[in-house]
């Protein structure tokens, strides 16, 4: 079973993601902000990171993604944001293992992106 780490500050969104991914057969871990996400990442075996961008705390989701990418080239990361401008800005980070998506998002679209990244 693949493990997905969800980094999201809004409880209502975090719960929706967690429920949807658990029901789709993934083991789900959660973090409330980027710093928390990096901590969880160092302690557990994570196969994919799904992160929000604008969150409380010193580092933001995109910065966390960059930190992870500096460490490892192949850990799949999905960055998702509700800020249209943010999506536009960070879309340049997309590559084989990094995908940028925007909120709101359909479950089907999210699951497809996860499967594509994990299948590589």
């Amino acid at each position: 079973m693949k493990t997905i780490l969800i980094v999201e500050d809004l409880p209502v969104v975090r719960r929706a993601f967690k429920r949807a991914l658990s029901k789709s057969g993934y083991d789900v871990k959660t973090a409330n902000d980027a710093a928390d996400g990096l901590k969880k990442l160092s302690m557990e075996k994570i196969d994919l990171v799904l992160t929000d961008v604008v969150m409380p705390g010193i580092i933001q989701g995109d910065e966390m993604a960059q930190t992870i990418r500096n460490d490892t080239e192949e850990l799949p990361i999905i960055i998702i944001s509700g800020f249209p401008r943010t999506v536009e800005r960070i879309s340049t980070m997309q590559d084989q293992y990094t995908k940028v998506l925007k909120k709101p998002i359909k479950m089907e679209e999210l699951l497809e992106a996860i499967e594509t990244l994990l299948d590589q």
């Binding site: 209502v12 409380p56 800020f83």
Partner: protein
């Protein structure tokens, strides 16, 4: 009357001194005096019996000019008429200047037997030029003397120095002056001379003269003509002073005022003395009035500002006054600022110095800045609202799609709860937006505040992230206040969510309520980093956030707006928990307790 009697009367009453002495010996001890008139005693202090038989030389002393005496002696020896000015000594030793006319008188045989000397005290005449010379030297003024008939010209050394003319190279002709006068000033000088010559108007003028170096010197000149029998001016004498420094200071002041757009005026010490500088009229876009400057100035400021100004200037004090006013200039608004200080000069006298400034450009710049700030704020609002809605829609959409994956009713209920919560958040967001734009008036009503706060506490505890401790400390008997219920819900939840955002892990948030005679206080504390005092007023501005550059909706501004519209306030303090304390206050209405 006999001729002798007439002569006697002349001797007796003339103010001129008459001395008759024998013609010889001219050499030592000198001719003997045989007669002096009364004026002699008056002038010298010697009685006739003291002087008759003596020589006139007893009037001379150490300061008497030897050359003058030599000339007199030479004249006497040659029986010539003599006229000289000589310094004499009175009996008491004091000096006086005497103008002598000495003529030899011959007897019937043609022998010169007597000298008749007429003497006049000319001390005043001798001293005056000296006094004048000193005065003029002290003033630093130059002197000129122009013979209008033949254009002969005299300049004093000081005048020559002012225009850098070498003493030896000075050409004593009027052209020396007129050649140095620039064409731009020549007309004015000619007009002033004409007015003086024709109408006797005072000649007082400022012009420039070319210095030997080539530069122009600013000169202030005054003069007085003398007119001949035919009524034509024959001569003109006057003074000049170098006012270059003064003219430069004035030019600098005018330049400074032109560059800064600030002009000056003053008023006093008497109510009829006011000076309104030319630049003031330029600034007010008005022609300089011929008279009633002060009245015109006040009228230009408008009745309200004029009344303020009039009342302030008659109360001298150390503080300066500022009056802002808006004028209409050809259909455009002109923002005028006056600053002035009224100073007492003792008694009723006072002196006011003031400046006037056109602030139109500055005001327009401020307004346009405010507009672009509003535009930026609107952009931030749009981004923030989009973010909030996109999150809400994500929660609703994913929630709805997960419903069919639920294994139990309990799980389905949980999902529905979450979806409904998200829907409610969306509803609050639109309401808050409408409140913000004031298109949806608040509907204040009374509702049980204690119960409402408990409900909100439960709701909030589900909203905040796991790992943050949420406590409530709610009072039981809160006075009733009139509030818009959904606005209140949103405000409390906003504060709690905001506190949760600020908290790190191991965060603590406390919702509490209390009341006093003034009203109700709803307080949210957190143990986050707090909000520095300098940021406290900014964070309640719409769309400002400490959460990084991209904003986070309209959180605190929403709450601030709501409390204000509800007759209360939002204040930010330091929390006993270590972070920020947000205090919402709502006034209780006395008649509704």
């Amino acid at each position: 009357m006999r001729l002798e009697d007439i002569l006697e009367t002349i001797h007796e009453y003339t103010e001129d001194v008459i001395v008759v002495s024998e013609a010889e010996p001219i050499a030592q001890p000198g001719p003997r005096i045989v007669f002096v008139n009364k004026a002699f005693t008056k002038q010298t202090g010697y009685e006739p019996h003291e002087i008759v038989g003596q020589t006139p030389r007893i009037l001379q002393g150490p300061d008497t000019d030897k050359e003058t005496l030599a000339r007199i002696r030479e004249g006497l020896q040659n029986w010539r008429y003599i006229r000289e000015e000589v310094l004499n000594y009175r009996k008491d030793g004091s000096k006086f200047w005497s103008e002598l006319s000495i003529l030899p008188v011959a007897d019937e045989k043609g022998w010169y037997r007597y000298w008749v000397s007429i003497q006049r005290d000319v001390t005043a005449k001798r001293t005056m030029p000296e006094r004048l010379e000193l005065t003029i030297a002290a003033s630093g003024d130059g002197i000129w003397d122009w013979n209008i008939e033949n254009n002969e010209l005299f300049w004093s050394d000081r005048f020559k120095e002012i225009v850098g003319v070498d003493k030896d190279e000075f050409v004593p002709h009027a052209s020396t002056f007129f050649d140095r006068l620039p064409a731009a000033d020549a007309k004015r000088v000619a007009a002033a001379l004409d007015a003086h010559f024709e109408k006797g108007e005072p000649f007082k003028i400022t012009y420039r003269l070319q210095h030997a170096d080539g530069h122009l010197v600013d000169i202030s000149a005054k003069g007085q003509a003398a007119w001949g029998a035919n009524g034509k001016p024959v001569r003109m004498v006057g003074t000049v002073s170098d006012v270059s420094d003064l003219v430069k200071a004035h030019a600098d002041l005018t330049e400074a005022q032109t560059l800064s757009g600030i002009a000056h005026w003053n008023y006093g010490p008497n109510p009829d003395q006011a000076v309104v500088s030319d630049l003031v009229w330029k600034l007010l876009r008005l022609p300089k009035p011929d008279k009633h400057e002060w009245r015109t100035f006040l009228e230009a400021l408008g009745p309200l500002a004029a009344a303020d100004l009039q009342s302030a200037i008659t109360q001298p004090s150390d503080t300066s006054h500022v009056i802002d006013t808006i004028r209409d200039v050809a259909g455009h608004r002109q923002h005028i600022r006056i600053r002035f200080k009224s100073r007492s000069l003792g008694g009723d006298a006072f002196y006011v110095f003031g400046i006037i400034e056109d602030r139109t450009a500055a005001v327009l710049a401020e307004e346009s800045l405010a507009f672009s700030e509003r535009l930026a704020a609107f952009g931030q609002l749009a981004g923030g609202v989009a973010h909030d809605f996109n999150n809400i829609l994500t929660a609703i959409g994913i929630g709805a799609e997960s419903l069919e994956l639920a294994d139990s009713d309990a799980e389905r209920d949980e999902i529905v709860d979450d979806v409904l919560f998200a829907v409610r958040q969306g509803q609050q967001l639109t309401e808050a937006l409408l409140n913000y734009t004031r298109q949806a008036p608040l509907m204040p009503e009374r509702f049980p505040l204690e119960k409402k706060l408990k409900e909100l506490g439960r709701l909030a505890s589900r909203t905040i992230p796991v790992g943050i401790v949420f406590e409530t400390e709610l009072a039981n008997d809160l006075p009733s206040v009139l509030l818009d219920e959904s606005g209140f819900d949103a405000a409390v939840l906003n504060l709690v969510i905001n506190a949760a955002d600020a908290c790190e892990h191991d965060g603590v948030i406390r919702l509490s309520s209390t009341a006093d005679e003034k009203g109700v206080y709803v307080i949210v504390d957190d143990n986050g980093p707090g909000i520095p005092e300098k940021d406290r007023s900014r964070v309640i501005e719409p769309f400002y956030s400490t959460k990084g550059g991209e904003g986070a909706g309209i959180g605190l501004a929403r709450v601030h707006g709501f409390t204000q519209q509800s007759g209360g306030s939002l204040t930010i303090e330091e929390s006993p928990l270590g972070g920020a304390r947000m205090v919402m206050f709502f006034a209780s209405h006395r008649d509704e307790r």
